[in-house]
């Protein structure tokens, strides 16, 4: 049998790190300068006296904690390290950071959490979080939330809560999925962001006649198409149906699900051909090079613009996915995946380091801490209410506006549903099949998806 060679699949995590890998280069020197004397004298971020002094003080005695991180690319790793250093500077607690390549980290998460994990580990909100909480592999941090809860909106609290009502997760940032475009291209051609589906189609048709590919698209990794499914389903059928579908209480064979694919089918002629063999990075290049007019993706698309040259990212803008004229328009729902930290219950040293680990969580909940990260990685925005948006670039400021205006927020299909269902031999394959055989019988197609779900 083959020796499976662990390889990194490009995921949104990879992407985020990549963004920082390039974008962060601009800002990191400033942070390094700011933090260079952190170890000796002043804490660079946050005033020690203000937030949560009790936990921090009691934790000083415990001395150290361990932290498993999947922020393995250079700049996100550095950005994470800056936050960790700020924590050590303020509390005197040493943090042993154990960084694992992110693809490996995700593939091995089950065995990692069952073995001898670190006290704190990086993870995602959504089903992926609730699953490990329900398996008893995560330590609840409800008491931490009692202290820091007021610094988060209700949506973040819901996204941090397990099936048993306890909180297990501490968010540090998120990022929106929206339709990205180049301002200069829109100005040159007199395009305006569409408000509804008809305008969207009209604009796409105009781009096509102008010799542009209206929608850039690359689905070689399998997950980017999920973003399109999510947003069409949210606009067409609303948040409740979408969540029910992800949880299995609604059926894929439902007429409403078929309607999603019908809408999508009408849009597919505007999409870039050959998507199944193209990475999202290559699709983003079509947008960078003004061959494509628009691109529905997470804000990490900015990485490709930062890499394209100085000032290119300033030309990048986005608009929320157009309304469909349904009753769900008011929800302004969107995918805005949250990343953050959890505590590993099986960690052998967690008992001794629990106070320190919770102090770490409290420190990470502060806006001033999260701003260290958002400065280094302009593809994301801080999760805390008291984060200072003044250091944000225009894209980040608009992202904050978009996310805070949303009445309903989802994580992303593969974070919201069973990973057994969402993988390469699952929903990824079904969506690729649909994109390439758009005229197939939707009854049979959705039946195939439902049958697969039923075997899980």
């Amino acid at each position: 049998m083959a020796d499976p060679i662990p390889m990194k699949a490009v995921s949104r995590r990879t992407v985020l790190k990549g963004i920082a890998g390039t974008a962060g280069l601009v800002t990191v020197p400033a942070i390094i300068a700011a933090c260079s004397d952190a170890g000796s004298s002043s804490a660079p971020a946050g005033s020690p006296a203000s937030a949560a002094p009790t936990a921090a003080e009691s934790a000083v005695a415990t001395g150290s904690i361990s932290f498993g991180s999947n922020y393995s690319d250079e700049v996100p790793k550095n950005a994470m390290q800056q936050m960790v250093d700020a924590f050590t500077a303020e509390t005197g607690i040493d943090v042993a950071v154990n960084t694992v390549e992110h693809g490996t980290f995700q593939d091995q998460i089950s065995s990692y959490l069952q073995g001898t994990p670190d006290n704190v580990f990086t993870w995602f909100s959504g089903f992926r979080m609730r699953f490990f909480a329900a398996q008893g592999l995560a330590e609840p941090i409800t008491d931490v939330w009692g202290t820091v809860g007021s610094n988060y909106s209700e949506a973040f609290k819901v996204g941090s809560t397990g099936d048993d009502g306890e909180q297990y997760f501490l968010p540090i940032y998120n990022y929106p999925w929206a339709v990205f475009y180049r301002k200069s291209l829109f100005e040159e051609n007199g395009y305006t962001p569409p408000a509804n589906l008809d305008e969207f189609k009209t604009l796409a048709a105009r781009m096509q006649s102008d010799g542009l590919v209206p929608m850039a698209f690359g689905d070689s990794d399998g997950w980017p198409a999920m973003g399109t499914f999510d947003i069409i389903n949210l606009r067409q059928n609303g948040y409740d149906f979408h969540v029910g579908l992800m949880a299995g209480t609604e059926k894929w064979t439902d007429d409403r699900t078929k309607q999603v694919f019908t809408v999508w089918k009408d849009l597919l002629p505007f999409y870039q051909e050959g998507a199944a063999g193209r990475t999202w990075q290559d699709a983003a290049q079509a947008l960078v090079q003004k061959q494509a007019g628009m691109y529905l993706l997470g804000m990490f698309v900015s990485e490709q613009f930062v890499a394209a040259g100085a000032g290119e990212v300033d030309d990048l803008d986005f608009f929320p996915y157009p309304n469909f004229g349904t009753q769900y328009d008011g929800e302004k729902a969107l995918d805005a995946p949250i990343d953050g930290f959890m505590l590993a219950k099986n960690s052998p040293t967690l008992g001794a380091n629990l106070d320190g680990a919770k102090a770490f969580m409290e420190f990470m909940s502060k806006g001033s801490t999260q701003n260290i990260y958002t400065a280094a990685n302009p593809g994301v925005v801080a999760a805390a209410n008291d984060a200072d948006p003044s250091g944000y670039n225009a894209l980040q400021q608009k992202a904050v506006e978009l996310i805070s205006g949303a009445q309903r927020i989802t994580q992303f299909l593969d974070r919201d549903t069973n990973p057994n269902f969402a993988g390469p031999n699952g929903m990824q394959a079904f969506l690729l099949d649909f994109i390439q055989n758009r005229d197939q019988d939707l009854n049979a197609f959705t039946q195939k998806i439902q049958d697969f779900w039923d075997t899980l």
């Binding site: 049998m1 083959a2 020796d3 499976p4 060679i5 390889m7 699949a9 995700q106 593939d107 998460i109 089950s110 065995s111 069952q114 992926r128 398996q135 592999l137 590919v213 689905d219 070689s220 990794d221 399998g222 870039q272 051909e273 050959g274 998507a275 199944a276 063999g277 193209r278 990475t279 290559d282 290049q285 079509a286 990973p419 057994n420 993988g423 390469p424 031999n425 699952g426 990824q428 394959a429 690729l432 099949d433 390439q436 195939k448 049958d451 697969f452 075997t455 899980l456």
Partner: protein, 327 residues
């Protein structure tokens, strides 16, 4: 050490696939003729026993546990013995409901057929050509062998870049990079397996070439000269003389090709993690069992199916090897 004397040697001990067991050991010599001292027996016992124990712990133990896990719905958390016991449900599911199993099996068979009928013969053909001491033979040997030193993972990355829709060399060379005429080598599910097979062959051909070339170098030139004297053409010499005489090497090559086809994994996994036309049994196992997905029971069922398929050529190979030893 082993002293078979004139007595014919008993067949190798059952289960002794480890190193020491395969050498001639008079395991069933009757006591009164025994030439072995107690110390010899102890040493031999250890030499057979230690590999046997290791073999059981590291090969057969996990295999049997895999077989057991395949009967459960174990999700990788906790003990597999606490998981729900499903009987043959996973297998039923696999053969009747799982939409990716039969495509994967078909792709493995296509993989095998391609390597056996196209890549391997090309490798043998190159070996025959290079054996003729044409000018620059060393240079060509190096060129063709070079891909073999690369791991398949690296080869996957190299070819993925070549096949990329807009940025890749192949589409650019063909001038097929526009939105309305590009060739989606890795995305089109009818095309990508052939693209992957070409990438695999790039390495496989060199591998077979070197193996066969080594055999040809050891070929007795007198046989070839005799054929020439008898007026045989080059073609006749190869097919009537060289090929039959090289039969042991041919068997090795067939077995290696079969194993390569069954363990095909790396390139498909690197291209797209084995989906959308590139499903293989090995990638299905990985995606179900060794990933964030938690279907270890189901993944083990696929692994058991692959094991059963793999055992057939292995047994054929072993039977052949053991028979050769006896003669």
């Amino acid at each position: 050490m082993g002293n078979p004397g004139t007595r014919s040697v008993a067949p190798a001990l059952p289960g002794s696939t480890g190193g020491a067991g395969a050498t001639a050991i008079p395991g069933r010599v009757r006591r009164r003729y025994s030439l072995l001292t107690g110390r010899d027996k102890l040493v031999l016992g250890l030499m057979v026993g230690v590999p046997l124990v290791l073999d059981i712990i590291f090969i057969w133990g996990p295999t049997i546990v895999s077989g057991f896990i395949s009967l459960t719905n174990w999700n990788g958390i906790g003990s597999p013995f606490d998981a729900e016991f499903l009987g043959l449900k996973n297998y039923e599911n696999l053969f009747t409901a799982y939409p990716f199993f039969w495509p994967a099996l078909t792709h493995n068979i296509v993989w095998l057929a391609w390597l056996m009928l196209i890549a391997t013969p090309i490798g043998m053909f190159l070996a025959v050509l290079l054996d003729r001491e044409i000018r620059g033979t060393r240079f060509y040997q190096t060129i063709f062998y070079l891909p073999v030193v690369l791991s398949l993972a690296v080869i996957g990355i190299i070819w993925k870049l070549q096949y990329a829709p807009e940025q890749g060399f192949i589409n650019n060379a063909l001038g097929r990079t526009a939105n309305d005429n590009l060739i989606d080598w890795l995305g089109n599910p009818d095309l990508n397996i052939w693209a992957a097979l070409i990438a695999t062959s790039w390495r496989h051909v060199g591998y077979i070439m070197v193996l066969y070339l080594a055999g040809l170098k050891a070929f007795d030139p007198a046989l070839r000269e005799a054929a020439k004297v008898d007026g045989a053409s080059e073609r006749q010499t190869f097919f009537r003389i060289v090929f039959p005489v090289m039969m042991p090497i041919n068997v090795v090559i067939v077995v290696i090709t079969t194993i390569e086809a069954l363990r095909a994994f790396d390139i498909a996994y690197i291209i797209n993690r084995g989906k959308n036309g590139l499903e293989l049994l090995s990638t299905l196992i990985t995606n179900n069992a060794i990933s964030e997905s938690n279907r270890l029971g189901f993944g083990s069922a696929i692994a058991v199916v692959l094991l059963v398929i793999s055992i057939v050529p292995i047994i054929a190979f072993l039977v052949r090897m053991l028979r050769n030893d006896e003669t």
